[in-house]
Symmetry: C2
Subunit: 441 residues, 2 copies
């Protein structure tokens, strides 16, 4: 076999990076749980027809085929890998509605796949960490204010740049567009969504072409999208544009509540940014997008929003609100910038040396005691010269080497960073807490 | 949308079961780390041609196709979902050999997929937890004795039935088969592998048909497979069969070392069982299979072995030994038997009541303090009557409801199981440790 090469879009980490990923995921998970979200995982596949109904990402599905399948198999019940965790979750809620308690708060940390054409910086497999709250029939608006605080807490405790959450509300946009006389607000929203990518002049053109906007209407759309405030003052700025519509009023009130709650609990976390649209069709109210400060040019690393009709069965609907943290995107940016590292490449804190193969059993016994006390320990692979065994530890960043006492002598443990060596017993010695596990910084 | 139905072979758990799964995975992971295994994840896909070379499971691959791909795309570089974690790990080692330290100890806990025909009790997506140790050129045999101890420790700390690990060594079988004059030991091994399923009479027939064994040779093969001892006494039992071969001697010595080490550290964990063969082609020495005691009829839940030539590049080879815990299989068996449960369906320890919507902010502040102190907390979804808010907690098994004091009165917290209610402050009150998180039993 010749040396294999990576596959574009399918990132893999070396062990120190994977340790960092586990640390980040652990912190996110702990935060989700401290807010009372219950864990769920869904299967990786959904029926293809379900995946194909949900917004523009649905074009990027990986379809599965059993290698052993007869051709006829590949028809109606074809399966595809999920491209997000919201669509599978909505299906899970419908399927298990009778067994769940509503409102239902769940978190879900899993890989998702997008069958995109390979291109620089685009992942085709990546890890997402989602929270959602769904209720039956109606969902109180205060949850829309809670979710940004959860995400702020989850990421705020990590050694990464602060996150800035931009919030908007589709009712604001739709009400405003209707108020200025546009008849296809969805088309207008799709055009404005491209503002970051193509700039205002081309968005104005697009508004004319796809949403039937006059130059004055296009200008009015762009004026709305320019509004961005860290507090509820955006309401006055919108009012100053002189547009009136009932849906606009509703949206402004909802958005003000989200921004004010965030400002009270975590100043600086959220801004009202009326240019935010979000690509997915299923959002019906609040929408979120978040970026890492200093990494804005790489786009958003978290996103979410409120969806009122993603999950409906008969005449029961399950409105929800969710927020998704792009774990792989965040790590990819920070690894790329060399900003996160682990203090060693293995969990191991102690290497127990082996004097000769006949005495391996004595080293195994020392290791067993240390492990029982929760101290990550390896035994040397060979009874090589001690210098070579110490180099085994050094190359991996293992801080301590343990020398079992020979012929009745006491055991000794050496801190190979300082060179200090001292007598010790496996059931008495404890490393400093900062050495017990690799540290991330 | 009508109510969705499950897809055969793709299990999904409700939140209490997922909490149990996380607890089990956490325990396994902690054990792997205390033995110094470093974490790795590999991408979910491998080039199809790589998957198709590795033993009989390779027939059961799911092939991926981009929905948007041109037909021409689907050719040479087709991708398939991995069916185990060993083949991807061997590829990972070759790809990153220059960046890894050998011997390399890694663990990997991920989903795998098998594109089997749907049938009762067979998973098509399931979670595995693997450890492997690989070295460059040569790998010391003592690692083959270490891995069963790691698995025994990982599962031994869980509230599940004890595992029994059955160990064999392919050199024993191959040497013995050659010693009695069989020229296709691989065919004989495949026949003996079916012993549990089809019984000795049909295995004897199969040995004649596929391995060219005479009735006497078939009988000799079955005599070997009957040997099963909890210690190294199997060596004498094999010797008593009167067969001589150099490879047999080598295998007996290796197997005796594994069984004796296991007996010294964890009596009762391992038995030498000379009927164990393992389906996968790549094993070259020690092989393991483990069952849950009391659930033997459902087959093995862990398996592994030594492979000397799975990863080779040019004239460098990376021999390895690995053990895989079938997490989904274990949980499926125990959930099916109603043997594992969680004390509540949410992580939440405290529900903060809301007196009226105008005072939600006061409840939010209490929750923020409790969360900062690591106490999983929710705020009531509505300002319904307190009786209804208490029922919200009851239905989820949340043990405490917190009542913020109104108009200067002190806060009170109620244990809704005992009905006891007492004054408390959010920065002073602490629940008993057993109530902080859901318990698994």
């Amino acid at each position: 076999m010749s040396k294999p090469t990576p596959i574009s879009g399918f990132p893999e980490w070396l062990p120190p990076q994977r340790m960092i990923e586990q640390y980040v995921v652990g912190r996110i998970r702990d935060t989700f749980e401290v807010y009372g979200f219950a864990p769920v995982e869904t299967r990786s596949v959904e029926p293809l027809d379900q995946l194909l109904r949900k917004g523009e990402t649905s074009k990027e599905v990986y379809v599965l085929r059993r290698l052993q399948a007869e051709e006829a198999d590949a028809g109606d019940d074809a399966l595809g890998l999920h491209f997000d965790l919201t669509v599978p979750f909505a299906r899970y809620v419908l399927e298990n509605a009778g067994k769940l308690q509503f409102p239902f708060r769940r978190y879900q940390i899993q890989k998702v796949w997008r069958g995109e054409r390979p291109q620089e910086g685009r992942y085709r497999e990546f890890l997402q960490a989602d929270i959602d709250i769904v209720d039956r029939d109606t969902l109180p608006n205060h949850y829309e204010a809670e979710l940004p605080l959860v995400v702020g807490d989850a990421l705020g405790g990590l050694p990464i740049p602060p996150v800035r959450i931009r919030v908007n509300n589709r009712k604001v946009c739709e009400g405003y567009y209707r108020g200025i006389g546009l008849e296809d607000p969805a088309a207008a929203l799709r055009a404005v969504d491209k503002l970051d990518k193509i700039g205002p002049a081309r968005v104005a053109d697009l508004l004319g072409e796809t949403a039937g906007a006059s130059p004055a209407q296009a200008k009015a759309c762009l004026s709305l999208a320019e509004i961005c405030t860290p507090d509820a003052s955006f309401v006055d700025a919108v009012r100053a544009l002189g547009v009136r519509h009932e849906l606009l009023d509703e949206g402004l009130a909802e958005l003000a509540a989200v921004v004010e709650t965030a400002a009270a609990h975590r100043p600086g976390l959220c801004v009202a940014d009326l240019s935010i649209a979000r690509g997915l069709d299923y959002y019906t109210g609040t929408v979120y997008e978040a970026q890492l400060q200093g990494f804005e040019r790489f786009g958003s690393v978290c996103a979410g929003g409120r969806y009122d009709s993603l999950a409906t069965a008969g005449n029961v609907s399950y409105p929800g609100v969710g927020f998704s943290i792009g774990v792989t995107r965040i790590l990819g940016l920070l690894f790329g910038a060399g900003q996160l590292s682990a203090s060693r490449s293995v969990p191991t804190c102690v290497l127990v040396a082996v004097a000769d193969e006949e005495r391996r059993e004595a080293s195994d016994r020392v290791a067993a005691v240390l492990r029982r006390r929760g101290i990550p320990t390896e035994v040397s692979p060979t009874a090589a010269k001690f210098g070579k065994q110490i180099r085994y530890a050094e190359r991996r960043g293992i801080p301590y080497v343990w020398f079992p006492g020979l012929d009745g002598a006491a055991d000794e443990v050496k801190d190979i960073r300082s060179g200090k060596q001292a007598e010790a017993t496996p059931d008495g010695w404890t490393p400093p807490p900062t050495d017990l596990r690799p540290t991330i910084g």
